[in-house]
Symmetry: C2
Subunit: 204 residues, 2 copies
DNA sequence: GGACTCGGTCAACGCCGTTGACTGGTTGAC
DNA sequence: GTCAACCAGTCAACGGCGTTGACCGAGTCC
């Protein structure tokens, strides 16, 4: 009888979840890192939709199935590639009276091109449930938790979230729609105009 | 000889573009309208990604290929289903000193659930080039053209576009991310807080 | 009545994310 | 030293996607 007698079948303990990262041999850990690096590159270069699992696998030099086995799904892999980018944290921790303009200046800084790619990839994946939840969590943890306790007046948490709304809206027009009017505007003008609008919500 | 002698072949005049709407017989015009209606329904119900061409065709009772033949592509069909929704135009044409709050109240009005679906579908399709261009055009035609001529001070066009940025950001947090803080906030509070922030850009 | 065009179907193409069956190599207990 | 268990990885396939091109039947026009 070919392929051994009887059914080998092992134990097969619920083959649904991705492989456990904690118990990996060095080889597995290396290819896992390679996949993650390839994903980071391609998601940034092409966006969430256009960066296919197959392309990521090719870039990493492995089989597409291995990508899924390691991370569970394309969405979960994408979440792993989102670095928290602590840069904005420092801006938020600065003087509250100037956060508005400093925030806009941070996101418009041409020295930080990764901001653009990160936003575009996130915006494309925002309709996936896990991604959406991660964005909500990030907003609460990074913006609300830092700003609200230092603010004064009523509706502190709501006002902190409205800061995020304004930032997202600006990045949307700039990076996704590439609106010619706002894209062609002077950086200093945007920082002053939009920064003050944001500031008005923070410290009215 | 079956199927006629020789190659029929007709003339086949560049079979790349979709069928011309102007010269349609009644039957064609009817099914075309049915496809458009089905698309409108499914795009609103499921969003751009989840509303497949096949599902739209089934809903309309036709073959999926016919959808493409009529409209050229899924993206083009989607653009056809975008009604300009003149509602916001009336808001923008009202008194300039109160546009901020009235805009927010308009978009938060629970009597207007279509606003939510329209935004979600648009946001999901925003990474397609034609859709992106349509959004830019809509911003310029609906917002900038109405607001900028009535404003005072410098950078009128930029400031008008920044109003769009703020609105988009709010809708993003409300409808796409469904942020619990802003979703749970009182409507009147949001109208006052965010409306005044918008107003600050319009009439500083 | 024949050429032509329109309305429509059908089968397929090449992609996509994901799954399950399978092969080997490594490990660890006896 | 053996052998079972397990990790790493491949392979072929599934169902679904948007889109294409070949094809047919019915209507229209000269």
């Amino acid at each position: 009888m070919p392929y051994g007698c009887g059914v080998t079948k092992t134990s097969s303990p619920e083959r649904t979840a991705p492989v456990d990262e904690s118990q990996l041999r060095p080889a597995g850990r290396a290819t896992r890192a390679a996949i993650e690096a390839a994903a980071r590159t391609l998601f940034a270069e092409r966006g969430f939709e256009a960066a296919s699992v197959r392309a990521i696998a090719t870039e990493a030099g492995v089989d597409p199935a291995l990508v899924i086995r390691h991370f569970g799904s394309k969405e979960a892999l994408f979440l792993r590639t989102l670095d928290t980018s602590a840069g904005v944290g420092a801006v938020l921790d600065g003087p509250l009276e100037t956060v508005g303009r400093r925030l806009v200046a941070y996101f418009l800084d041409p020295e930080r091109p990764a901001v653009r790619h990160r936003y575009l990839a996130l915006a494309q994946a925002a309709h996936r449930d896990q991604v959406r939840e991660e964005m909500v969590r990030y907003t609460a943890e990074t913006y609300v938790a830092r700003l609200a306790p230092r603010m004064e007046g009523a509706d502190r948490e709501v006002r902190a979230v409205l800061v995020v709304a304004q930032i997202n809206g600006l990045l949307n027009l700039l990076f996704q729609q590439e609106d010619p009017i706002v894209s062609g505007a002077d950086t200093a003008t945007l920082v002053a105009l939009y920064g003050d609008a944001i500031q008005g919500v923070l410290t009215p």
